[in-house]
């Protein structure tokens, strides 16, 4: 029934528009072509002006209405730079937008066709063309140059004190690996990936660097004020680590690791106070179409102090010991005290 009404409304709307157009055509015939053309010229000139004023009011109104939905304060050092770059770009383009649009519509109104008024023939001016080509070219080059500079900074070498976290996308979720005490991520090989044998990351157990690597899913913990380098990969198709609150994103490409680094500057707890939202969490959203569960591919990031982070990490068991419980010193100690030297060697 509802569908019928909608179709009927559309059809009636079409008929009404058609009838109005037809009626105005008859009116034009009755009044005389020349007179009605001049009148519609006037009306169109006025409408152009009205469009400009209503349009600018609409832009302002939209901005006022949606202000609260804009992402809040950037939560990383690079995020501040990215935001500044965007605001500078918006400021420059907004000024140009207002000047050109006002000129466009005001001129069409002011200099509309009138009797005793002839258009000024102005075919070409090299100086003018040069000015309006060179100035935008220089401004755009500077804007793009700043963007490239930040890009190289974000994807370049991380500071020496940075921690490393590996993040891998899969259909449909995120897997993280922490390098553990040695600060080195162990080697991995995609054919070793076997969640059933507790090796979802495909770690090579022969590599000693793997012995203390911690594996977690969906929730990443970071230390406030400490730079972190993300080593990004994917298991199946292309994903994208989208960190809107940190103003960063990077593709996760299967077979080709990518990196980016940043320093979180606001803890989750502080952000909850600032936003007034007790449920606030930093979000990892997949920003690259990756299949039917793309919408659900959400991870979270907890930014906390070093003490909180250490306490969280202390509760995690290295994946090596999860996958090889017979090498676990805590269990060994209960049953076989003779094995102590062996486990000592494993933990290094």
């Amino acid at each position: 029934m509802q569908t019928f009404f909608i179709v009927a409304i559309l059809a009636l709307g079409f008929v009404i528009t058609f009838q109005i157009a037809k009626a105005s055509e008859y009116v034009a015939v009755l009044r005389g072509y020349e007179r009605s053309r001049k009148q519609s010229n006037k009306i169109n000139g006025f409408l152009l002006l009205a469009f400009l004023i209503l349009g600018l009011i609409g832009v302002y109104y939209c901005n006022e209405q949606l202000k609260g939905k804009i992402l809040g304060e950037p939560a990383s050092d690079h995020g501040v730079l990215v935001d500044r770059m965007l605001y500078v770009t918006i400021a420059i383009t907004f000024i140009v937008f207002v000047i050109t649009q006002v000129a466009l519509f005001w001129f069409s109104y002011k200099y509309q066709e009138k009797e005793n008024q002839k258009a000024f023939y102005f075919p070409h001016n090299n100086k003018l063309e040069l000015i309006w080509t060179v100035i935008p070219a220089i401004v755009l080059t500077i804007l793009v140059g700043v963007g490239i500079f930040y890009w190289f900074k974000i994807t370049g070498a991380a500071p020496k004190n940075a921690m490393q976290v590996e993040i891998v996308g899969k259909q449909f979720g995120w897997e993280m690996r922490y390098p553990g005490k040695d600060g080195v991520l162990g080697k991995k090989y995609f054919k070793n990936v076997n969640p059933a044998a507790n090796n979802p990351a495909g770690q090579i157990w022969d590599d000693p660097a793997n012995y203390d690597d911690v594996f977690v899913e969906q929730e990443m913990h970071l230390v406030v004020g400490k730079p972190v380098q993300l080593v990004i990969g994917a298991k199946d198709v292309i994903h994208d680590v989208g960190l809107a609150h940190f103003r960063l994103k990077m593709d996760a490409v299967p077979g080709t690791p990518t990196t980016m680094w940043f320093t979180p500057t606001i803890t989750t707890a502080d952000m909850r106070k600032k936003t007034g939202n007790p449920d606030f969490v930093y979000e990892i959203s997949c920003d690259q179409m990756c299949g039917k569960g793309h919408w659900s591919m959400r991870g979270t990031i907890v930014v906390e102090t070093q003490e909180e982070f250490d306490a969280w990490m202390a509760g995690k068991k290295p994946q090596y010991l999860v996958a090889n419980p017979d090498k676990d010193p805590s269990k060994k100690a209960d049953t076989l005290s003779a094995a102590a030297p062996v486990t000592g060697a494993i933990i290094r």
């Binding site: 509802q2 569908t3 199946d236 198709v237 292309i238 299967p254 690259q288 179409m289 990756c290 039917k292």
Partner: protein, 266 residues
Amino acid sequence: MSEALHVHSGAAHAVHHDDHGHGHHEQSFISKYIFSMDHKTIGKQFLITGIVWAIIGGLFSVLFRLQLGYPDQSFPILETFFGHWAKGGQIQPEFYYGLVTIHGTVLVFFVLTAGLSGTFANLLIPLQIGARDMASPFMNMLSYWFFFLASVVMLSSIFVHTGPASGGWTMYPPLSALRQAGDGQKIGTDLWLIAMALFIISSLLGGLNYISTILNMRTKGMSMTRMPLPIWAMFFTAVLGVLSFPVLLSGAILLLFDRNLVQAST
């Protein structure tokens, strides 16, 4: 009343015009309006097909944005349009991505490239440079009919059981290369690739024609520097198309091979 009279006399005039023919031989309805080699008719064919696609693509965006704008509401009209893909008036996630993909493809390629570029290039190039017609009217006709064929294949992909291609209009592999990645990566993606291959052939035939017409068939006194700006714009568009579309074509064909002839997963 006077309008009707006017139309009538116009038709009479056209018939009259045809009778004499001014040296042209009689054309059948098919060769005049369907498999036409006249650049104006081909331009109109591109225009009409482009408009149809613009309506379909635009409607898709209206419908999926209805869902996006009010994610918690249900719209029975969606179920009317999409059946089991919008059960209970809410678009299923997989089909949502299918709609976005087809919307993007249709608007970028079928409307902007064929509908606009195809229409205006065919209509305006010969008129504005003073040529009788395109360099190769036959190739021009082929260009439209390859586009039409591409349209038919693309349209048919909306009606297959597993849904249209849903990997985004950029069709990045491996998502687009793996059948097991989802329903939209099954027959829908094959049809999408075939449609795109046909479409690229159409664009290439058209583009080569535009370039050779502009370079070789300008009227006396119409030097390149005197050419109207729209013609320069279309010339550049065609050159860019001829440079990039062969790469895209081989990409589409190789992806088809990958999906159908090679077992890439092993």
